[in-house]
């Protein structure tokens, strides 16, 4: 048996609310501390405690961040799911189970089974009955430490990171890990090939969740106003931002806050407040998920038509309706793009990485103020709530782009001010903020028909001109939206792959897998809508393109078909929509099946 080094996919099956999260983080961090790239995916239920949860840690020398369907090692801590956990496992995989569970009839001979007497071991680790439920999870960390050859210092660092200055807690848990490790060293005869060896691939890296990155983006983007209504999986964007606010925007001397964070009574109110704040000149945002987006429909159209900046982070979860609040999806594209009645269309930013959650988290404010319109950042649960490895973020080197605002001074110099006049021919009007001390400043904002002077108008010409100007504004402003990222194959290819958001990671891995099979398509990652001309060019250069996305209806494909109708026949849809994190093999097999009519990869 050849050792398989620095390439292992470990899944821990637990019950939520039992404290396994600490153990899982320690395990992941320990690997990371050994310089080995890790990726973690948390598959948790939509309740608070007592239901099945799966935490998967993938360590891979190449740094793959995507989920992998096949587990190499499973740790079975949840009685309710052992059967299906075992059933789904490939031959040769490792099963770590509790000898107390009496699973003999379920265990399979084609697996490598390691029974661990968890109860006996946790009894060794602590006498405190209350703590045992939590501490038992450290035992499997210890067992894995032995099996995979985890570095002791790396573990120690991870434990300290997890429990900080609570020395007693550190000790207790470190000890429990040691109990597990020692027991395994003594009792387990290693029959599996999985091993970890120190590398140097993580020294300059951080571990972060996308929602924290989004919050950091908002902080650095000059957001001063947050209004939100809790909803999974977006809540932690707001909660993180509030923590940053409290830390960096609170003046301990005066007791004043250079921010306002408001928990609204619902999403309608949340967006209403954001629009009000944007109207008054603040950089304002909210974050929400599907149901919240639906509730924001009316006010989004209001913002679009009155041309008020607003930033809305949509951390997408699986819909329709309440759907699967803790499962990933890219299913809100169409409804968000066309959100609200009448002719409307909104800029969507499509982050794919921690970096982009951060960067777009800043940029959204520039865009909203430059374009004077609500801007949506379409994050995803996968990005937002999983821990990702990434390079540290760049400290911003640009001032905020605050768009066309006329202050009292500037108003002095202009002959007249019309809120919706297209002075510069770019479709973008000037605005003034309430409180501006100049008699030209005041205007009347309304969602009903208005002319260039913001006066009420039902005149067909005024209406048409206003709506055309808004179209023009969008066309011109597209230059500011993040351009797509092109990955060209070594040789010219006739086939293109189009993707966006979290699909980036399985796609990058899929490209490697394709290459192994001698298939080398080009690929393009879309980073914003409306789609850039580069997207059109890309499609035009390929006989056909697969649009790979995580929804049922091929929503990106629909938008591209509507945007570039002449190229629509070249678009083919690959849709993944069961809520599981997308993996490379699923893409590979779907593409190859369509491409060659044959299924090459096992999915």
């Amino acid at each position: 048996m050849n050792p398989q080094i620095n390439d292992v996919n470990i899944q821990i099956a637990t019950v939520n609310g039992t404290g396994s999260q600490s153990a899982n983080l320690i395990l992941m961090r320990s690997i990371f501390n050994m310089g080995i790239p890790v990726a973690a995916k948390n598959l948790f239920p939509s309740n608070i405690a007592g239901l099945p949860t799966w935490y998967t840690i993938r360590a891979h020398h190449k740094g793959y961040q995507a989920s992998k369907k096949e587990n190499d090692i499973v740790v079975l801590m949840n009685t309710d799911t052992v059967y299906s956990d075992i059933r789904g496992l490939r031959p040769g995989a490792v099963v770590i189970h509790d000898t107390g569970m009496k699973l003999d009839h379920a265990l399979r001979e084609d697996h490598i089974n390691y029974g661990v007497p968890f109860t006996a071991l946790v009894n060794k680790a602590t006498d405190n009955v209350k703590l045992k439920k939590k501490v038992v999870n450290m035992i499997y960390v210890g067992v894995l430490a032995h099996l995979l050859n985890l570095d002791a210092a790396a573990i120690d660092k991870a434990v300290r990171k997890q429990f900080g200055k609570k020395e007693k807690v550190v000790e207790l848990n470190a000890n429990a890990i040691e109990v597990g490790r020692a027991w395994a060293a003594e009792n387990i005869e290693k029959k599996d090939p999985f091993q970890l060896q120190t590398m140097n691939a993580t020294a300059d890296k951080i571990l972060i969740e996308g929602n924290t990155a989004s919050a950091l983006g908002a902080l650095m983007g000059g957001c001063t106003f947050l209004s939100w209504y809790p909803i999974t999986p977006s809540s932690s964007v707001c909660e993180s931002l509030i923590s940053y606010f409290e830390k960096f925007r609170h003046d301990p001397v005066t007791g004043h806050n250079r921010y306002a964070a408001i928990q609204a009574e619902d999403e309608i109110a949340a967006l209403g407040m954001v629009i009000g704040a944007g109207w008054a000149g603040a950089r304002a945002m909210t974050a929400t998920s599907g149901p919240g987006i639906s509730l924001m429909a009316e006010l989004t159209g209001y913002g679009y038509f009155t041309e008020i900046p607003a930033v809305i982070v949509n951390v997408q979860r699986m819909g329709p309706s309440t759907g699967l609040p803790t499962r990933n999806s890219q299913g809100d594209l169409l409804s968000t793009y066309y959100l609200s009645h009448g002719d409307t269309q909104h800029p969507l930013l499509l982050p794919s990485s921690m970096d982009e959650c951060y960067e777009m988290g800043q940029q959204a404010f520039d865009l909203a103020e430059q374009m004077q319109t609500p801007v949506f950042v379409m994050s995803e649960l996968d990005l937002g709530m999983n821990t990702w490895m990434t390079k540290p973020f760049k400290y911003p080197d640009q001032p905020y782009a605050r768009g066309k605002v006329l202050n009292a001074e500037a108003l002095e110099k202009v002959e007249s001010f019309g809120r919706y006049a297209d002075v510069d021919g770019d479709g973008i009007p000037y605005r003034t903020l309430p409180g501006t001390r100049n008699e030209k400043a005041p205007y009347f904002t309304r969602g009903s028909g208005h002319n260039a002077q913001a006066k009420y108008s039902e005149d067909p010409g005024d209406w048409e001109a206003g709506m055309e100007r808004i179209s023009r504004k969008f066309e011109g402003a597209q230059q500011w939206l993040p351009a797509p990222v092109l990955t060209l194959a070594e040789k010219p290819s006739e086939i293109g792959l189009i993707h966006f958001g979290s699909t980036r990671w399985p796609m990058e891995e899929a490209l490697d897998l394709f290459a192994e099979q001698g298939f080398q398509p080009d690929s393009l990652r879309i980073r914003s809508l409306p789609a850039h001309a580069e997207v059109e060019e890309f499609i035009a250069k390929h006989t056909h393109c697969y649009v790979v996305e995580q929804n049922r209806d091929g929503q990106m494909r629909s938008i591209l078909a509507a945007t570039f109708p002449d190229l629509a026949p070249r678009l083919r849809s690959i849709c993944h929509f069961n809520g599981s994190f997308l993996d490379a093999n699923t893409i590979v097999s779907a593409v190859l099946k369509l491409e060659k009519g044959s299924e090459l990869a096992h999915v």
Binding site: A260, D266, G272, G276, F393, P396, L433, P434, G435, G447
Partner: protein, 353 residues
Amino acid sequence: MSDTVTEAKPAKPAPKTNHIGLTREDYKGGPTTLCAGCGHNAISNHIIQAAYDAGIDPVTLGKFSGIGCSSKTPAYFISKAHAVNTVHGRMPSIATGALIANHNLVGLAVSGDGDTASIGMGQFVHLIRRNVDMVYIIENNGVYGLTKGQFSATADIGSVLKKGVENPFEAIDLCGLAVELGCGFVARSFSGDKKQLVPLIQAAFSHKGTAVIDVISPCVTFNDHEGSTKSYDFVKDHDKPLQEIDFIPYYEEIDVDYEAGNRVDVKLHDGSHLSLKKLDNNYDPTNRVEAMRLVQESRGEQLLLTGLIYHNPDKPSFEQVLNLPETAIYGLGESELRVSEDQFKGIMAGMMG
């Protein structure tokens, strides 16, 4: 036109100005597009008068409204102020955002009974809960004027539409509700009662926190007939004023004669005073339990209690709760906001292994 005076004209008397040097003219708005005789038009005039009398600076004023005939009115007063005519029922949230982003603005909101008590109920309740510093006037006619006269949720039980339909539901009493929710300034008045309404609006401007004034404002087109309880005639017959009201602004000496026992002096946040001459009862507007009782009892008697119903100046306003700095947050730039590079590196370092 040049500056040169070409012909001697008889010197016009300089127009009267208020204490910030503005004329009443400076508070006017565009021409109304409402029906002639609509109560809302009268209220617009009272708002102009109150803002003029109080010396509100239009530059610092923000006008807010929802959707409805009533909500159109901010276009008809004080054009020198910025305004947002929002969507139906969601004005409170937009006003909240604007007034927190720039808490130096004076907030003045006009809404309708449909806009507030039907679609807007949730936001109205939560506005009061937060105690956003603003004046909130409901132009209450018991119907949806702009959609042609359907009952609203403030229509009284048993009141009758023109075509004969009778309302089977108990009215939502926005003042009762506001008191129950702990609103610090709750008043009711009548569009036709300039003498009462103007000082109430002035006082509302002087209050720190949400000041709700429910103003019965007859809809002459759809709800001014017999059988309506929001008609001019009905209101005149059932009006029960709690007090006679004088407003003494903070910049004037108090020179009202306090006939002890007959007047209550209500001190407002900015130093202004309301001097309330008690009428036939011994009503104390600072007693919430009493306020609630009176509201309920008069409701039972089909009386329309008008005047200052409840006042509590001590509740912190939302901007106070949020501990906002003197410079409003909308005005902060990179220098005040941006985390330093070192701090940023610290954040990053905290996320390493």
